[in-house]
Symmetry: C2
Subunit: 593 residues, 2 copies
């Protein structure tokens, strides 16, 4: 596999040229003193360096060795501890952390780029700091000042890690039915008992302590999702100064054997009267989880993007190097024993499909990250409310669509390699295995689709969708240069189809709630392609401005946009037919399934 | 994972009710004395028994253990040898073999069903007999009577296996550039020297001998594909009575570490002045390979079908058993802690997508197998010629489309399981890994698409396509019952779009040969969906006739057809746009790839 090269030029193009993140930061008082273009450039280069030099090199070996479990203890693959230490020395675990507790307070728009490099270089490794970041977010948003002061600085330093203990063997997508119990003690703490499964980083040998965030039920709590509370349960008990005491009653029962992300320990965690600390108010645990989920779900989308980018990089390098067959119009290099794969239109079709999806994915993740930043840091309440609505609408799409496209892209990147794509040494097949989980965890992509169509569209009667539609319509009306006009027209038509479908589905779901589940996944995909079309227009309009003196980079954006509109966006037509076909065709006598 | 259950009722429906294979056999003198419905039923039941009881149980363990290599020798996973012996005792290796040399002489239409059960139960295991079958076919078609008499009876008995030694490290899709050499000896044999890679079953511990079929160049042979000859190179030399002598100069240098089919040994085979026997005439090796490829490629398509069927069986069982969430219209089983997954329309959408693709795939593989039988056994030359044209046209579609759909179906079957789909114990992820190779080997699916559009459509100016179109049009004109009429109309429209696209592409490729590669994969997919639509109409028209007294089986066929026409066939619309978009959009300055 080609060495990982952080796509810095493309990241800069997206972040600064297309979306003007540095302008947004300068115009946002809460960020203006924290980050500017120079700081951001330095951080991007630092992230590139550590992912290229420390983290990418242990990706294949980590897959081969895997995380291992012995007698209750997890060992991460060789090199993970050293790389993790280097990662902490660079201060990376606290990059987006609250500065009041020792974080760097960087915007998510920057954090998302670091996430991309992490996942592209090594998805298994990336999960350890990423789960900690998620746990930190939940603590920062909902825990008492005392708990924040105790836990956050050590988590931002990477000294302690975090885990999210939600799933139980009978309760995955449906968290309302969890059974883990929390009994109040007389000292204000709680005794937590139950077994959680699929706990990423539930145990590891990277950090001195692990801060488990655990969903559990208090005695007498209401049934269902409104009776679930959130607790901090440290692996090792700590005193109020943060000194480690005796082990808590938490144990790792085993780890899962998985298709991929083998260097990431996926743990069964047993809580046996373990000491826990209530976060926030009783019975609000699930809603607390959802406040940090937008950040986490975007990060998982970025896993799809990162793995796809890595696969594309390798496929391009291979297609330029590997010689097989001759161009359809005759030998391009007659002196060589064969032409490179690149002469074949079908190979270029695959590479351009990968490129058009990957670069649009990067644009979308950056765009959503900037909306997250607006929702958090904007001065005016109106801007915050508007951005929050956009985030709510776009997050399930970013999570599901980026990961669905991530699988497609990595499968294509494997196909370019032919038989060698199936061999482990080349690394392409690992990317397929590693990215596959991203369509499943943090809410399956089917759950994301239900969230999108149900909560974010039908529930608000398309209001947030209307905001977005207005934005895209306005962009199109301003962007119609001669060059872009036909693409603007094509996107307008697709957006109108999406808009009509949205109206139609809102009506249909009122009549029959099953219409939602029957159309949700296709609706999300249509929405995703339309957004990618919008992202390509955003990129193309900047590229067009910069064509004078271009070294080829900006022309390549225009060419890739052309490809996207000719060959990818048209997928919408078929999906519309399917999404409109109604729920009746999903009914069948289940005896004959 | 649910135990494998051979889908016998569905196989019977397809083979006998839909396509009347027993009638075809009865009307074909060369088959009438060999096979009838009763024989076929007995064989199907026998195949079901051995795959369910002997071969499926070692599928997971075989994946965990994998084939291993030590000091030049391959060991297959525990249980493979015993299962292989049982398979041979049942006579299965010779099921479609030439009766003159000890085979059963069964038609491919029956063999394809056995293949499906084999791949569904254990793809790694299936490959050992399947490669032997391919080698036997090539020997039977092209070797001298003496070689046939020496090798075939032992290969049909499973006592010796076969391998196909084509690929070299620099020569995969492009076999014209292989370098393995064959030097004539004075005794009429040849000395073979070279290294072959990706040799399935190139070594194993199942059989006393392995008959390698090797592509190599004779001294002074023309450059390129017309200078390649085919040789038999036994692992162990044999005398003319078939007694084993000393080892030949053939060695297994290593085996590959792969994404899946881990129980199948994928070998590097070194030939170092090994004794070889020329098959047929010099320099005709590649064309000999192609004569048996139609059989082999169909079998690989059937791997896609089998893995998909297995994944669907497990997903259906899981969706009926796993409880999570409540139906959109309120609890279906309020007394249970949650409803089954089956209440969710999105889950049913996934299951019905899997079912509609799997059952159409079985119909297509059976249909193509029957055309193969006609091409081989038909009385009249006209029938043979006609069937041969159909086989040539349909084989690349059967190989590529069944395996592309196989990946989609297994990925969906994994998704139904949520997180458990990613865990090895449940088996769903293995099916994804195992089926993935089928899109790559025996000619990548991109190569299949080039074969279809280039050799089979453009080259004969759409003549074979015209034959098929006439057949479908005639079927539609006769099948339009009130119930089927709207579907007939929809298929007619899709077929017309395919036909127009065919004409357009034939013209465009004349103008610019790159148009072929740029459109080939999408063309194949459009063709595949149209054929699946035809298959569903064939199935539905039979199901409709049998509705009286139906236990639900036939109604489920009509329901699944409805689903297919509503949600799957419409994919054609988007693909048409993309396929017509031309090759220009695949051009990009390669520096910026």
């Amino acid at each position: 596999m080609a060495d990982f090269q952080a796509p810095l030029r493309n990241i800069r193009f997206t972040l600064f040229d297309v979306f003007g993140a540095d302008q947004q930061w300068a115009n946002t008082p809460a960020l203006a003193g924290v980050v500017d273009r120079e700081t951001a450039e330095a951080m991007l280069e630092g992230a590139a360096k550590i992912t290229e030099q420390e983290i990418a090199p242990i990706n294949r070996s980590g897959d081969e060795e895997g995380a291992t479990w012995d007698n209750g203890k997890v060992t991460t693959p060789a090199g993970f501890k050293e790389a993790y230490d280097a990662y902490c020395e660079g201060g990376w675990p606290g990059i987006t952390g609250n500065a009041d507790f020792g974080g760097f307070g960087m915007p998510k728009a920057l954090g998302a780029q670091v996430d991309e490099m992490l996942y592209a270089s090594n998805s298994s490794f990336a999960l350890y700091p990423n789960l900690s970041a998620g746990a930190s977010l939940a603590i920062e948003a909902h825990a008492s000042e005392a708990l924040k002061a105790l836990y956050l600085p050590r988590m931002y330093a990477g000294e302690w890690a975090g885990s999210m203990c939600l799933t139980e063997s009978h309760a995955g997508s449906d968290l309302g039915i969890i059974r883990t119990k929390a009994e109040p003690s007389t000292d204000g703490t709680h005794k937590i008992s139950g077994t959680k499964i699929f706990i990423t980083g539930g145990d590891q040998d990277l950090t001195a302590n692990i801060v488990h965030l655990v969903l559990a039920r208090l005695p007498g709590a209401p049934k269902g999702p409104k009776g679930i509370s959130l607790f901090i349960v440290p692996k090792i008990n700590v005193d109020s100064a943060g000194e480690l005491l005796e082990a808590n009653r938490v144990s790792c029962g085993s780890i899962e054997h998985k298709m991929g992300i083998k260097g990431s320990a996926t743990c069964v965690i047993n809580f046996d009267d373990a000491t826990g600390y209530l976060v926030g108010e009783p019975n609000r645990g699930l809603s607390y989880m959802f406040t940090m989920m937008n950040y986490e779900r975007l990060s998982i989308g970025v896993q799809g993007l990162g793995c796809g980018d890595r696969s594309m990089q390798s496929a391009i390098a291979y297609a330029k190097d590997r010689r097989q067959g001759r161009a359809a119009t005759g030998a391009v290099e007659p002196e060589a024993f064969a032409d490179t794969l690149l002469v074949h239109a079908d190979v270029r079709r695959m590479l351009l499909t990968m490129k058009s999806l990957t670069e649009a994915g990067r644009a979308l993740s950056t765009y959503v990250a900037m909306e997250l930043d607006k929702a958090k840091y904007a001065e005016s309440t109106a801007d915050k409310v508007n951005a929050s609505a956009m985030v709510a609408l776009l997050t399930p799409i970013a999570k599901a669509f980026l990961t669905d496209m991530g699988l497609d892209v990595t499968v294509m990147g494997q196909q370019v390699f032919g038989g060698h794509g199936y061999i482990r040494e080349w690394g392409q097949e690992q990317l397929v295995r590693d990215v596959r989980i991203a369509q499943i965890y943090e809410g399956t992509n089917g759950i994301q689709a239900h969230d999108l169509l149900g909560r974010k569209v039908v529930f608000d009667r398309g209001e947030a969708f209307g905001l977005l539609k207005t934005e895209i319509d306005e962009f199109i009306s301003q962007a119609s240069s001669d060059l872009l006009a036909p693409y603007c027209e094509q996107l307008s038509a697709a957006l109108m189809e999406l808009s009509n479908l949205t109206d139609e589905l809102i009506q249909k779901v009122d009549t029959n709630p099953h219409e939602m589940g029957a159309a949700a996944v296709e609706y999300l995909h249509i929405f995703g392609y339309v957004l990618y079309g919008y992202m390509w227009l955003r990129m193309a309009s900047v590229a067009e401005e910069k064509l004078a003196g271009d070294d080829g980079f900006y022309q390549s954006k225009l060419d890739t946009m052309t490809f996207f509109f000719a060959r990818v966006l048209p997928r919408v037509s078929s999906l519309i037919i399917s999404a409109k076909s109604g729920c009746e065709n999903t009914e069948i006598n289940s005896d004959w399934l």
